[in-house]
Amino acid sequence: MEAKRILPLAITAWFLAAAAGIVVLMLFWLPDRPPVQPIAFPHPTHINKVGLACMHCHTTAATSPRAGVPAMSVCMACHENAATDRPEVQKLRGYWDRKEPIPWIKIHVLPWHVRFTHKRHIKAGVDCSVCHGDVRAMMPMRQVRSLKMGWCIGCHRSRGATTDCAACHK
């Protein structure tokens, strides 16, 4: 008799616990959302409308470990005069005039023990989109690959690249 009275409460408690679990998972996920950047830079406009290639701005991708965030002078080469009426371009102008660096928030972060170089991957013919997704349609920029070891290894294996630990780990 007692059990019959407790069971409905137990069922409700079970569902409440699950709902709480879902809310907790959501709270853990919230910080992983794409960050709000200081300037809402539109990759699609620069790639599709202006016709710039990735390496037009990320100049060091093919020659160094880092792809490089372009210097403000690269932006200002065109935006000194182009689209100066847009509010986001005016923000850029503000940083430029104040001689302040733009505090971009880094999106693709690898752990400190990983030694990754853009140069080698581009030399091997890996397209930027393999790791960064379809940036020409991405607004805002977000991380679309896990960048976890299993994912790296999967690609290395399928392309016959090295899987030696020391190749990637410090």
């Binding site: 069922i11 879902i22 959501m26 202006v50 997704g133 379809d134 690609c155």
Partner: protein, 412 residues
């Protein structure tokens, strides 16, 4: 290459693909889950209680139309829609759906024959094949929101066996158990067309079985949801995903409570409510899966829309070029284009982003076609300036701008 079998989706059709997939999943999954659960139970009770076994098998498939409407047409529709949704991705998704059909249709045939002959040599393999095709279907839906696997998914094993996939299958099984339990109670005890008449003792086992399935399924739903959310890939996650999961938990709760009361009090009064919440839960599950897919493939969908738009513009400009052959370049039109497009970067008398027209245009005075060719397809000439992007002008517009620039730059 296989992608050529499918036309790329038109811009207007693209927003319809997702909702259509949800609709097809809503038609397919509840029925598929019910057939899976009831055929398994029918095989289990085959010797112990032959009548019960027959009733279980008859539940979802006694009407031949059901095979077609819920079993055959939706997966074919999903195959076609996946060809549109995943057009241009490194994997050929329709092939995965085709594999499902290869497993599913023989399973249907074997189960159909089992229902007629009661021969376990047909029912056993039929049930196993159906189980395999459900597993494959869930893995394929999973692959849809794992774009990082598209690039090197050469082996089928990691696709079929991953924790995330197992958790999704658990969620599907829980919903299938809930729905088939509710369907047993609803169709055999409440629905006037198919209500069973017999002694209470004879029907008791069927009623308890229905109630227990509904209760067990409803209880497993929230656990499977928490496991699923814990394992979701980052690009597929969004607030909507969590809210859908919360809604599913909210709707599974009354199903569990009411099934429990029906079991406890030995009646079937709430069967329609539990059945309704089963349909609702499967609807939310379908939406959940398609939303994950659209979220993970958001950029791919946007790129497809851009391609469709570019294709349309190409056709329009080809048509206009044909018309422009008979039209005379018009300097007034050229001026209008200059003010809306060119003047953002160019001025006649001073350097802006690009060079001053008065410095460069006179070079083309003797060769207007070369100027038109440059406007049509700009190439970098002077390293001191950034490359000029193409402006997507029609032939008449190109000629008109060239005429306007030559007229105006020549005058000063």
């Amino acid at each position: 290459m296989l992608d050529n079998l499918f036309l790329p989706p038109a811009a207007e059709h693209l927003p319809l693909v997702g909702p259509l997939m949800v609709l097809l999943l809503l038609f397919h999954l509840p029925w598929l889950g019910t057939v899976l659960v009831t055929s398994g139970l029918s095989l289990a009770f085959r010797k112990k209680d032959a009548l019960l076994s027959t009733r279980l098998m008859d539940l979802a498939v006694s009407n031949p139309g059901a095979w077609w409407i819920f079993g055959v047409l939706p997966p074919i529709g999903l195959l076609l829609l996946s060809g549109q949704f995943f057009h241009g991705t490194p994997i050929f998704m329709p092939a995965y759906y085709a594999n499902i059909l290869v497993l599913m249709f023989p399973a249907y045939l074997l189960l159909y024959l089992y229902r007629r002959t009661r021969d376990i040599r047909l029912g056993g393999p039929g049930h196993l094949l159906l189980l395999a095709s459900c597993w494959f279907l869930i893995s394929t839906l999973d692959l849809g929101f794992f774009p990082e696997r598209f690039f090197f998914e050469s082996s089928i094993l990691p696709l079929l066996f991953s924790i995330q996939q197992a958790v999704h299958f658990l969620l599907f099984s829980a919903l299938a158990a809930l729905f088939s339990g509710a369907a047993i109670l609803f169709f055999y005890f409440r629905w006037s067309e198919s209500r069973l008449s017999g002694e209470e003792g004879e029907l008791k086992l069927l009623r308890i079985l229905g109630g227990a399935l509904a209760l067990g399924g409803a209880l497993a739903v929230p656990a499977a949801l928490v496991g699923e959310l814990y394992n979701l890939p980052l690009p597929a996650t969004s607030t909507t995903v969590f809210i859908t999961a919360l809604l599913m938990t909210v709707f599974a709760w009354p199903a569990a409570q009411l099934s429990f009361y029906m079991l406890k009090n030995g009646h079937v009064r709430f069967a329609p409510c539990v059945f309704g919440s089963g349909i609702l839960l499967f609807g939310l599950f379908g939406f959940h899966m398609v939303h994950l897919q659209s979220r993970a493939g958001a950029e791919h969908l946007r790129a497809l829309a851009q391609n469709a738009e570019a294709e349309r513009q190409k056709e329009t400009s080809a048509r206009e070029a044909l018309m422009a052959k008979n039209m005379v370049p018009d300097a007034a039109l050229g001026e209008k284009i200059f003010t809306t497009k060119c003047s953002a970067c160019h001025s006649f008398d001073k350097k802006v982003v690009g060079p001053a027209y008065n410095d460069v245009v006179p070079k083309y005075a003797a060769d207007p076609d070369a100027l038109a060719a440059f406007i049509r397809n700009p190439v970098k000439k002077n390293p001191a300036f950034p490359a000029m992007p193409g402006q997507g002008l029609t032939e008449l517009e190109v000629q008109s701008v060239a005429r306007f620039l030559l007229d105006r730059a020549g005058k000063k």
